[in-house]
Symmetry: C2
DNA sequence: TGTACATCAGTGAACGCGCGTTCACTGATGTAC
DNA sequence: TGTACATCAGTGAACGCGCGTTCACTGATGTAC
């Protein structure tokens, strides 16, 4: 195993600074304010310097997307997979909302640029990819499967695990969007109401 | 009642052309491509001409938001309020999805700029505003109220009509976002699956 | 260890671009008599 | 109805701006002998 040279360590640190600055900009000013020049200003480099680390603005955006996805994965990882399936799904949804609440602009970035879901795939691809322990969607998909296996969610013709996973994601995502826009501006206790809604939804999927 | 002069009619027509062009741009190229200059190009005017009709780009964006909201209202209006409450709510959700499906970029514009919901209000404001027959959110709110009155939706502590309305809107909105991004790229029959999800959700709200 | 050379992260100036907005103007449409 | 004047929708050129990207460069860090 090769130990990193000082040059490589510096390179890594700068790369990290660039992404951190990008994420800060998104968090503070919104995703549409993200520009190479603003990143350069924040880390006190010339704009051209960024091209030593990334090929283009697009490459930076991609890297930030991956980072955001990783953070979302971390937020979801705190929910123990040992919970009974119904509780697990509710807590998973709440963890998604907490992520959106604590990283609102960051969530907005994910929501705007790339919903963390499989892109363009077949049913088999998804089932195989569901093994990936950290991928956010896979986590949900496995939770749904456990619920079906435990007899808590009823599969019906044309409405199986994949459809259920999309529906639950839709509910969580919609809640996150509304909550992010309205939190504190509406006379609603969002966490409590959203928890109830998740419970109603998952109950409904079991009793049809 | 004064009849419009030719000048006024021309003024109106140009105003209409500007908004139509703006909506076309959003529909074809996305909300972030909307610019005064592109509008001017489409209607074959000079950019400066737009200032005879709107004070600023912001004023045009506002006008487009209103227009988009009006269109959404029209899409929801096709669902007869005479339907039984549960069916009504399901059909209202499906109408929202149809709107998003048929006007994807337009929906994206609404979703990006301004979710069609009361902004910053008290519970009383909303209940009073719920009389407005055409407002999208009011329509949903009245549907929920009917469901409660008919005993089909169970009010629980901290989870009343307003919370239910937000939850249903969240589900519909999340579905619309996911569907818009994934339609035709995932092995899912979205309309059927979404209808089932609405049914499960509303059933769940009634049986807790 | 000391010296000569190679690497390459970061610089600073410049490019062309599309943007929103302003300004003095023109010329067809509308009005007063 | 005809003429003289007023209105004002639309023009075209220009403004300053921030953007992504390119380029020849410099100078500290790293390497070979």
């Amino acid at each position: 195993m090769k130990t990193r040279t000082p040059r490589e360590r510096r390179q890594e640190r700068t790369r990290h600074d660039i992404l951190t600055a990008a994420i800060d900009i998104i968090a503070e000013d919104g995703a549409d304010q993200l520009s190479l020049r603003e990143i350069a200003r924040r880390i006190d480099y010339s704009p051209a310097a960024l091209y030593r680390h990334f090929d283009s603005k697009e490459a930076i955006v991609d890297a930030v997307c991956n980072e955001a996805n990783r953070r979302l994965g971390d937020s979801l990882a705190v929910v123990p997979e040992t919970l009974p399936p119904v509780e697990y799904l509710i807590e998973l949804g709440m963890a998604y909302l907490r992520f959106a609440d604590e990283n609102p602009q960051h969530f907005h970035f994910i929501a705007t640029w790339q919903i963390p879901m499989p892109p363009d795939v077949t049913r088999e691809d998804i089932e195989q990819a569901a093994d990936n322990p950290d991928d956010p969607f896979s986590r949900l998909y496995r939770g749904i499967q456990r619920g079906i296996d435990a007899g808590k969610l009823h599969v019906r013709p044309g409405y199986g695990a994949l459809e259920m996973a999309f529906s639950v994601w839709a509910l969580a995502h919609g809640m996150a969007v509304l909550q992010t826009q309205r939190l504190g501006r509406m006379p609603i206790d969002f966490p409590a109401a959203n928890r109830q809604a998740f419970a109603d939804f998952i109950t409904g999927m079991g009793s049809a």
